[in-house]
């Protein structure tokens, strides 16, 4: 029975420090099978693949528990090189290609064919001359095998993006002992026709007896090509099923489904929200943020609403707040309480009573070498000219007022610190986030935008921040936009949740909508339009 599988991963567990990121996950992949690995961001897919490839992040953090067998033999790779030798290949999401090299050179990189010469006999194999003729021939064979008609002399830099993926695949196919190929989100950067082509190439490869692990969040693609799928959620194995025994709705449900702890009772919700005036109107909004492009979004957010924006990483949800604040080039119109934001002018949104808590806490949100009190009042001082004292023609910081305000905030948010003069760089993540939030509130905004407010902070702080957001809305009638990858959090406090996929609005859902709806909204990317 053993050698029926090309790859078996049994009871794999992995901890980074105290946090378990994988708990007893098992995979069994047969030769020639397309095996889909599904899960949200942070479900443990990439950690699992890192273990398979023996990446150094795994070993430098204490290794893993469990057993990996390839063709019935137990292995423990300590470097990607070992994995390569054992016949495992990877097609990366970001191309691992060298633009300045030709297609042939890229396909043969690290595995150049050589012919011996005098020097190589004296000084060893590494001085053998390259056998260009043979290399060209084999590169062409690999390209033919996947049905690609690319000129192998061309430098990769000159190829269209869609072709690069195929060069990567040709490189992996060219490895003679290849048994298993991992495709990590291969269609993310491809156009629809290119993606279709890729899928047919995958089938072609599988037909040759090479197993494929297919990591993607596009469920339609999985339904099209995969034979078997395994779903991971929060590092745990959820389900393994043959594709023919399941459907998209079930997969979507399994992918998302988990208990939701409601932080707001329904009766706490302000009444008449549906008829409240529109606070934020977003029209044809496009943001050019690398890795989080927004490609045309229309949204109406009502006054007093907690509006959630969710979706998978890289789909553009983060781009929306950053575009509004003018941190990345944006087009379209955003009208906040009747006045239009000028994206070209950095800080324009701040002047229009919008406060922003960035997802990039340490980079954008805080001045790490400054004190807590300075961080809390800094924006207000520069934008609203508050906390200032006039000395003749100069305006200086009003130290006493700053101190007392900061103290207030520290008490309010329960910021654990040695005092308001402590540098924020030395605070824990959760407390830093509280400082960010305190700074945003000091602006006394009408609209608060929080982006990934719970990223990298502990559960206690998470809960406190979420509760505080709810309280703010209740007590001050603040309108809040919360952008988060954590669907659970969005569903626990938001009134409505917009799911962004591929830079566009996929669907607006009520937090009580079934899991499957969320899964589908996040995954079924190409329901209309296409990339």
């Amino acid at each position: 029975m053993e050698d029926k599988y090309v790859l078996q991963m049994e009871n794999i567990s992995k901890k980074y420090g105290e946090t378990a990121v994988l708990k007893n996950v098992s995979l069994n992949v047969k030769p020639g099978e397309i095996y889909a690995l599904i899960g949200e961001n942070g479900a443990g897919k990439s950690t699992l693949m890192n273990i398979l490839f023996g990446m150094s992040v795994i070993h430098s953090t204490g290794g893993y528990d469990g057993k990996v067998t390839i063709d019935g033999q137990e292995v423990n790779f300590t470097s990607p090189n070992d994995a390569m030798k054992a016949g495992i290949g990877m097609v990366h999401q970001e191309f691992m290609l060298i633009p300045g090299f030709t297609v042939t050179e890229n396909i043969k990189v690290g595995r150049e064919l050589t012919k011996p010469g005098l020097a190589s006999k004296v000084f060893g194999k590494s001085l053998e001359r390259l056998d260009w003729e043979k290399m060209e021939g084999e590169a062409q064979e690999a390209l033919d095998a996947i049905g690609m008609d690319i000129d192998r002399h061309v430098k990769v830099a000159g190829l269209p993006v869609g072709y690069m993926q195929f060069v990567e695949i040709a490189r992996e196919i060219d490895k003679k002992n290849i048994k298993l190929l991992v495709f990590d989100e291969p269609t993310a950067v491809l156009t629809e026709s290119e993606a279709q082509r890729l899928l047919s190439v995958m089938k072609l490869i599988a037909a040759k007896g090479i197993a494929i692990i297919f990591i993607t969040h596009r469920l339609d693609e999985i339904m099209e090509v995969a034979d078997t799928m395994t779903i991971l959620r929060d590092g745990e194995w959820v389900e393994t099923k043959a594709i023919k025994d399941t459907d998209v709705v079930e997969i979507a449900q399994l992918m998302v489904g988990r208990k939701i702890e409601k932080l707001v009772d329904d009766d706490e919700k302000p009444e008449g929200l549906e008829s409240a005036p529109v606070a934020v109107e977003i029209r044809d909004f496009r943001v050019d943020m690398p890795g989080e492009k927004v490609k045309g979004v229309d949204l109406d957010i009502r006054q007093g609403e907690i509006f959630g924006i969710g979706g998978l990483a890289g789909q553009g949800k983060i781009g929306i707040p950053n575009g509004i604040m003018g941190l990345f080039p944006a087009t379209g119109t955003v009208t906040i309480f009747g006045s239009q934001i000028n994206f070209g002018k950095l800080g324009d949104a701040l002047h229009k009573e919008v406060a922003f808590v960035s997802e990039d806490r340490r980079g954008v949100g805080l001045l790490l070498d400054e004190s807590i009190e300075d961080n809390i009042v800094f924006n207000t001082m520069t934008v609203k000219k508050e906390f200032l004292k006039n000395y003749a023609f100069m305006k200086l910081k009003d130290g006493r007022r700053v101190r007392s305000h900061a103290q207030e905030m520290i008490n309010l948010f329960d910021i654990r610190c040695t005092g308001s003069l402590q540098k924020v760089g030395s605070l824990s993540g959760g407390n830093q986030q509280k400082v960010c939030l305190a700074g945003a509130l000091t602006l006394n905004p009408k609209l608060l935008i929080v982006s990934e407010p719970t990223r990298g902070i502990d559960i206690g702080a998470k809960k406190l921040i979420m509760e505080h957001l709810v309280k703010l809305r209740k007590e001050q009638g603040l309108t809040i936009i919360m952008v988060s990858s954590e669907l659970v959090e969005l569903r626990s406090i938001c009134d409505r949740i917009a799911i962004i996929s591929d830079g566009r609005l996929s669907k607006i859902l009520s937090p009580d909508a079934p899991d499957a709806d969320f899964g589908l909204a996040m995954s079924a990317v190409r329901t209309e339009g296409g990339a």
Partner: protein, 490 residues
């Protein structure tokens, strides 16, 4: 169509701006100085012989992505240590020079390894690292020469040491009694031919024997291809006139051009005959015809009186130029080996190289070792020609000037080749020779030209680095625009 052509000219200008600037400066300085070619060319070819090897030693680190290797200063310093030891031992002439090579090679390998290790722990900032490592090593070098030699290790040699017995004098003479001056330059051509012939004979015999034992195809054809011309020239050398000519160690540039043209024509004709008669290929052999035309033009140029007289005063040290040509051939051969390709891969993208199973750190260390060793040989070649070693100064500016020369040739931090190295040496040294003269002519003060050339050396490096950063920025923008366009299309 028209716009496209225009764009090409513009990008050509943009990509070669430093080189073009230097050509203009050189021409300007030549006319401003009012000198003749008879003054310029001998001086220039002496400097080409001295400096090219050193500049070529910079190529491999650039290819391997280590940038411009300011660390060659350390290679130069190890050459000087070797020279000191050989002077102390009193070995003269060619044996002395070979002993220098034997001593400085392990030193340079060791230092190259250390620099490689250092660079591996500061990836991305190798250039500044190399610069500082150079200064640091200079400090150690001074400690060694000023204090350790004589101070700790007693040395009884009055010509080398300061009168107190502690520390080395600030010049070491290679000429006269030391017998190292021109040790390489003075090797007669006939000796080179002898070595080629007999060495080739022995090597061919060994290869054939090896292949016979291993029962591999003999491949006599390829061996003959190399050996027959050598043997033919060797046979010619027994004709008294030719023998006398080959017995000298300097070659007139005039003769060199004549010989070069002759060889180029013969080779081209043989190739054409082979193509037409044996392979029966259709079409014009464009490359070969080009070769004949260029050879004819070069030969024709020798009949222009001012060129003729200038060519007749330039004497090339043959062996030195053979070494330079050998290094050019070696470098291009090396880059076509497995290790060379690995270096190119590492130079292009370390992450890809790593995932392709290449040991990135090891490859980078090898590149540094090669560069350091070659730089030490380059310093030996240079010093044996100059004839004196400024104990505390000869190595200091080596890195700066070699790098400036390479950049002038159109190389950049990321790409460099032998052509650029040679062109760069020619342009850089032309300006170096001419600028003091031009300064004197124009402003009545040679020092101004002197200042100018120092300014130029530093300026060119700064300019190249800034240009490099700028074109990288532009490329990034272009790529982004391209991606945008592609996205809009889909």
């Amino acid at each position: 169509m028209n716009t496209k052509k225009k764009l090409n000219v513009r990008s050509l200008l943009r990509d070669n701006n430093v080189t073009i600037l230097f050509i203009v400066l050189c021409i300007g300085a030549y006319f401003a100085s009012g000198t003749t070619l008879n003054f310029l060319l001998p001086e220039l070819f002496t400097r080409i012989g001295r400096n090219t090897f050193m500049v070529l030693s910079l190529l491999i680190p650039v290819v391997a992505g280590l940038g411009l290797n300011f660390g060659i200063v350390i290679g130069a310093a190890s050459a000087q240590i070797a020279i000191f030891l050989v002077l102390l031992m009193g070995v003269k002439g060619l044996p002395g020079l070979l002993l220098c090579v034997v001593i400085c090679t392990p030193l340079a390998i060791f230092f190259g390894y250390l620099i490689g290790r250092l660079f591996n722990s500061m990836k991305g900032t190798e250039m500044i690292g190399g610069l500082v490592a150079g200064y640091f090593s200079d400090g150690l070098y001074q400690l060694l020469f000023l204090f350790v030699l004589g101070g700790i290790i007693p040395i009884a040699n009055k010509t080398l040491m300061i009168s107190t017995g502690v520390g080395v004098k600030n010049t070491m003479k290679l000429g006269d009694k030391a017998g190292l001056k021109y040790a390489l330059d003075n090797i007669p051509m006939i000796n080179i031919l002898d070595v080629l012939f007999w060495g080739g004979l022995v090597a061919s015999a060994l290869i054939l024997l090896y292949r016979l034992l291993k029962k591999q195809p003999l491949g006599i054809g390829r061996i003959l291809k190399f050996f027959v011309p050598v043997a033919a020239v060797y046979a010619l050398s027994f004709i008294p006139v030719v023998g006398r000519f080959l017995g000298t160690n300097r070659l007139l540039l005039l003769n060199a051009i004549e010989l070069g043209a002759l060889v180029a024509v013969i080779v081209s004709v043989i190739k054409i005959i082979k193509m037409k008669a044996i392979d029966k290929k259709a079409g014009l052999p464009k490359k070969e015809i080009m070769g004949i035309v260029i050879a004819a033009l070069a030969y024709g140029a020798t009949y222009i009186p001012p060129l003729f007289s200038a060519f007749s005063v330039v004497k090339l040290p043959v062996m030195t130029y053979v070494c330079i040509a050998g290094l050019v051939i070696f470098t291009s051969w090396f880059l076509n080996t497995k290790l060379g390709q690995e270096m190119r891969t590492v130079g292009q993208n370390r992450a890809v190289a790593n995932s392709a199973g290449i040991n990135v750190d090891r490859v980078r260390i090898i590149a540094m070792i090669m560069s350091t060793v070659l730089a030490s040989y380059g310093q030996l070649i240079s010093l044996q020609n100059i004839g004196t070693v400024a104990t505390y100064g000869s190595h200091q500016q080596v890195g700066l000037y070699a790098i400036a020369a390479l950049l002038v040739g159109g190389a950049s931090v990321q790409q460099a080749n032998a052509k650029q190295a040679v062109l760069g040496v020619v342009l850089f040294h032309t300006l170096f020779i001419l600028s003091p003269v031009a300064g004197k002519q124009l402003l009545g003060n040679a020092m101004i030209g002197e200042y100018f050339r120092v300014f130029v050396a530093y300026g060119v490096i700064a300019l190249s680095l800034a240009m490099h950063a700028w074109s990288k920025l532009m490329k990034g923008k272009e790529a982004a625009a391209k991606a945008e366009a592609a996205e809009a299309k889909s």
